[in-house]
Every structure is written in structure tokens, then in C-alpha cells.
Symmetry: C2
Subunit: 363 residues, 2 copies
DNA sequence: CTGTTAGCGCCTTCAG
DNA sequence: CTGAAGGCGCTAACAG
């Protein structure tokens, strides 16, 4: 059993070379002879020296080799949600080949004073902040770190680098499909528009001030289209739910359709909501689309499988774009003396999937 | 605009207190007066000091606040595979409330010399190694780091902390169900048993030496049960495929059933394989289970949905157990002078789901 | 409750 | 191609 070298310095001492030389053996192979390098690496292996300590290295180089993703929801929810799993897959893809890993940072809604400790303490080179409300404390904490930050989806009104879709424009084809089929009495179902819980009807006038920009954009986009078709947006019933599990969505459909039995169509801002409508319709004996037209948003696999008329957004591509953008910002920071002044902003395309849940109204 | 304090020391200097005091304001609130603490925190906020630098802190405390997960496959595959997504969800759950994040470390099969750099450079407190072949280079690299390592699923024959199921025992109820229904001519379909690609028939005698312990265990468990029922394991046809996508699985079913048309049942070591059999049976006009009985393994959602007779394993619980076990090892390392000598080993329970794809053979 | 003293292990000049 | 020196920013231990 050979003595154990636990640091670069001790290994250097044992071999009778300088620390630099050992360091170079790992990091700058062209700075020493191949023979010496081999000898050093072999000696290291023999003594169980695992190579330069990553922490010390990071401290010195100011580079970690990890990018953080802030997922606001309880982290294990993120793995149950198809969209965020796809997003993570995209980020993983973006880092493939890079010398960076992805660090998942749970940033739950628990408003402990130190809710931001995880992001404050995370050992990463930058953050991707995935879909949080404007004014989110974790986002603020990430910015406070003075590291590159890329925002994904929301908030959409900051000066930070951004990757997302144009929700307001993206939903219009769905609204248009309903209008073109001849619908005039259309209700809207949306997931929460604000961080604060508020289930039930929301006046159209309140939508503008909502702090969850994604849902706000979708509702506004639909209203834009309705308005353009001569429908008074103030007369469009809008129902929201804070949680988007199946029972909530069905209940939202019930609330909307029992209070407004004259509706011939429901536009939903998420596929989950649309499923709620489909389920409620089935439970109450209505046929879709003969008795009721429905549109969704997101284009999750199950929606396409079920033939839902919906808007497909590229979740994986978003993840990849966000990952790459952050990586570029990190690299630029090392290279440039002065960071470039234009903030990257990438808007990805969406597509409307016609599906089979829109048809002309019965009467 | 106030001067910017970029380090703890500079902030301390500007405030005329010692660095310790500032450090304590962040880390040991009970070591100074609330008033002073407030004053320090306020001054920090005013100057944009983001708090103690995480890298320097980690370097000093030898603690990062992140645990690494090694997923051998190309990382974005991991997000397409239900089992590994559930596993990650479990890990996320285990770290919830802990001051640890999860770092995903892609450890693709690219056997570059430095394939292990990511794991060699990862700034983490320990590793969970998820389902790799025995002798995997990334596992070796993780061990070389002298950090706590927890193995999940495989390899199962090391002295490392382990979380998994007893694959060999777990599959026996599926085999037994087929035997009890009266089947005697049963084929086996398995995903790759070795890292090296080898599609097609595998002699039962070769299974023992397979380096992918999970699949090996399942095949051996089935053979155990067959043997106990008086069937010569040497006569049981075993077909493998390296890749488990749908076409491969269907093709495996074709290969098995065309060469052995007398089989009345197929035992599969994964649900994906069983789907391949179901699809092939449907395509060739056989009814399951009337004409052919089929069992799977894993218990993915879709399998249960489809009524497959299969073994359900608790993927999320595995992730949670692995995460917690690693966390404990990390904490113990800080506390204990001498690490405890018994290596934790946790075997989780599986359940056989009867489903509806097993019935007595026709003749 | 506050301050002083020592490094943590490495990489990067810069000089041979 | 190699070596010596300095410091990255912080916290643990101890002493006031």
C-alpha cells in the first residue's frame, strides 16, 4: 500500500516536481512531456489521488461546470408534469457535450424568510428560471447572485434574457378556429392568473393586471381575437382554477357551463383544462364537438392522442434554447471585458393542431 | 448609488466590524445581536452584496449542498423513460426540505478517455449511480472521488451502499402465474444482458455471466421457477434485444415466435418487451390471452392501463430511498470520526399485478 | 457578543 | 518545459 496523496501539493512533493507541473498534467497536457505526464497520472492513480479537487478548482477559476434550473413548484411535481419534463430533457440535450451538468433547484412556494437559501447557496455558473410569477422571490434571489440568468416563459416583461413563446399570439388560431366554425357564445377556462389563489369568475378587465404572464397572455390573446370578431370581451365568461388537477378542471367546466348554459364552445388555456371540459361533457351527456366545441393549449402527447384541437408548443426546444443561451452568457462573461448590451430574447414558434373537437354550433 | 461590496471582507471593512461578524450574520444568527445582524444584512442589500460566495464557502466547509445522480444513458433519454423520471422524482422528494439540490450528471456511453471528466469534476457531496453495468467506467470514476456513493439497481454485487429490488425473486410470481395457468412451453424476451450488443438467442448457460445484473436477475429468476416446475432451463428459448424501442421489441417477439411456434406463453423482463409481444400478436391475428399469454415487468402506467400482467416495482420509492441513504452517508461523514462499517443495503418490495394477459393455454 | 489567526486546495502569473 | 509565490473568499477555532 502506497502512501495516499490527498492534494495536488502532496503528490507534487512526493514526486519531486512542482505543483504547477502536476496541475498541468491534468489541465494543460501540452505544457509538459508526455512521459512525465504519464508518470504523474500513474502515480496519482497508484495513490488514489482523484485529481484536482473540484471545489478548489472552481474557487480558483470561478467556474463550476453546472447550470441551475429553478423550478418553482415542489420539485417532484415537475417530474409529473409533461411540459417541464420535456423542458428538462431539452436542457439536458443542450448541455450534452458541454462540460456542464444541470442542477435542479427546488424553489417551493414556502415563503420562509430563507426561502431563497437554495438559490443563494447553489454552486452554479448561472440560472435558468422556469416559469415563475413576476416578482417571484426566487427570481430576485437568482438575480442577486450577479450570475447570468435566463428566464423561460414568464415573467415576460423584464430586461432579462428570455426564451419562450408569444402566448398572446399563439392562442389566437384556437380562438379563430372557434369563430370560423361559427361560435359566438364562447367561454374561457384558465389556470390561475395570479399567485394568490382566486378560483371562479374573473372579470375581463382584471386580466391585464395578472402577474402570471403566460396565462394572462393566453386569455388576452383569445379576447383580442373575440374583440376583432365583434364580440364584447366584457361579456365573455372567464373561469379560473388555482390547481390544474383533473377534479379542479372538471369542476371549472361545471361552474362555467351551469352558469352559462348557452355557451356553444369553451376555449381553454391549457390541455388539462380542456380535458376537464371533455370529461364534464361526457358526464353530462354532451357530445364533443356536436354539442360543444373545445380547444386546449400545450399540445401534450395525451391531447394529441385524444384528438384535442389545441396549440402545440415546443417544450423540449425551449429547454434546449434556454440551456444554450445561458451557456453562451456564461462563456461570454469569461471572454468579454464588457458584456454585450443587447439582451438575447428568443421567441419560439407554435403550431395550431386542428384536432377534432371543434365543429359548428348546433343552432 | 452606494459603493459595491463584493466580498465579505470588504463589507466588514466598510462597516467597521470583523469578517467573522459578517459571516455570523449569515450563518450563526445567534452569535450576534439582532440589531447588528439587521444592520449588516441591510448594508449588504444596499450594496448588492449577495451573501457569502458559495464556492468559497464550500471550499472551506467541504460541503456543497448538492448530490449528483449519474444516469448512464444519454441524459435526454432519461427524461423519456418513465422509470428514470419517477426515480428522479423520488430523489427530488428525498431532498425536499434538505439544503441539497440534485445535480444531473450525464455519463453517456462515449468511451472518450475523459468520459469521466464530468463525474471527476462535478461539484457535489456524493453520488447516486443509477443502474449501470458492473465495471462501468463512470462508477469507477465516482468511487475514485472518495465521496459517498449509493448504487441503485445495478451492479448488485459490490460492497457499496445499495438500493434496489431483488429482481431474481421479483419476477418469480410472473413465471409462477404462467405455470399455474398450465403453460409448459414458455419463451423469454429480455433487454440486453450485456453492455456489448448481442441481439438474438442467448443460451441459458450464458446468462450467469451477464454484466447487466438487473436483466440477468430477472431471466435467472424465471428459469429458477421453471426449473422448480420440472422444465429444463436449457430448453427455454431466450431472445434479447439491445434497444428497447417498439420496433425492436416487436421484432424480438417475431424472432421468438416464428422460430418457436409451439410456445403458448412469453415471459418478458420489461413491459416494453411485453408490448412488443402484444403488438406482434395483434398483427398476426393472435388473441391475448386466449392464443398466447404474456407477462411484463416494471409496472409502468401504460402497462397497468393496458391490463398487462406484470410485476410492479416502486421507482419513485427507489429514488427517495437512494437520495435519503446518500444524504445520511454525507451527514455521517461530517459527524463521525470513524465511519460505520456496515454498508447500508435496502431492498424494496415489488408486487405482482395479475392483469389480464395470462390464461390457460388453448390445448 | 466580537475579533484574530490560519488555512481549505488550487490555478495563474511570471521568471527561469 | 519547470518552479516560486500569491491569493481566490470564506469559516473554524480560539481568544478576548
Amino acid at each position: 500500500m502506497v502512501k495516499r496523496a490527498r492534494t495536488l501539493a502532496s503528490l507534487a512533493a512526493e514526486l519531486g516536481v512542482s505543483r504547477t507541473t502536476v496541475s498541468n498534467a491534468y489541465n494543460q497536457p501540452d505544457q509538459l512531456s508526455a512521459a512525465l505526464r504519464e508518470k504523474i497520472l500513474a502515480a496519482a492513480a497508484a495513490r488514489g489521488y482523484p485529481g484536482p479537487d473540484p471545489m478548489a478548482r472552481s474557487m480558483r477559476t470561478r467556474r463550476v461546470g453546472a447550470i441551475g434550473v429553478l423550478l418553482t413548484e415542489h420539485l417532484s411535481y415537475a417530474f409529473e408534469d409533461v411540459a417541464s419534463v420535456d423542458f428538462l430533457a431539452g436542457m439536458a440535450e443542450a448541455t450534452y457535450g458541454t462540460d456542464s451538468a444541470v442542477t435542479l433547484i427546488p424553489a417551493g412556494p414556502d415563503a420562509r424568510d430563507d426561502a431563497s437559501t437554495l438559490v443563494g447557496r447553489a454552486v452554479v455558473d448561472g440560472f435558468v428560471v422556469y416559469s415563475v410569477a413576476s416578482g417571484d422571490a426566487h427570481l430576485a434571489a437568482a438575480q442577486a447572485r450577479h450570475l447570468p440568468v435566463v428566464l423561460c416563459d414568464q415573467p415576460s416583461d423584464t430586461d432579462l434574457p428570455f426564451v419562450g413563446i408569444d402566448d398572446r399570439a399563439a392562442i389566437r388560431p384556437a380562438a379563430r378556429a372557434l369563430l370560423e366554425a361559427g361560435h359566438r357564445r364562447i367561454g374561457i377556462l384558465s389556470i390561475r392568473l395570479t399567485r394568490l389563489r382566486r378560483d371562479g369568475f374573473v372579470p375581463a378587465a382584471d386580466v391585464d393586471g395578472a402577474d402570471l404572464h403566460v396565462q394572462r397572455g393566453r386569455v388576452l390573446g383569445a379576447l383580442d381575437e373575440f374583440t376583432a370578431a365583434g364580440i364584447d370581451p366584457g361579456q365573455v365568461p372567464i373561469v379560473t382554477r388555482h390547481i390544474n388537477d383533473q377534479p379542479s378542471c372538471v369542476d371549472a367546466a361545471r361552474e362555467l357551463l351551469t352558469t352559462h348554459p348557452d355557451l356553444t364552445a369553451v376555449l381553454c388555456t391549457t390541455d388539462s383544462m380542456a380535458f376537464g371540459v371533455l370529461d364534464y361533457a361526457a358526464a353530462t351527456g354532451r357530445t364533443v364537438p356536436a354539442d360543444l366545441s373545445v380547444t386546449g393549449f400545450d399540445g401534450v402527447r395525451y391531447a394529441l392522442h385524444r384528438g384535442l384541437s389545441t396549440v402545440i408548443q415546443p417544450n423540449k426546444a425551449k429547454g434546449a434554447a434556454a440551456g444554450r443561451m445561458l451557456q453562451e452568457l456564461i462563456d461570454a462573461r469569461v471572454t468579454d471585458t464588457e458584456p454585450s448590451l443587447d439582451v438575447p430574447r428568443r421567441i419560439l414558434r407554435t403550431t395550431y393542431h386542428a384536432g377534432s373537437t371543434v365543429a359548428p354550433p348546433r343552432n
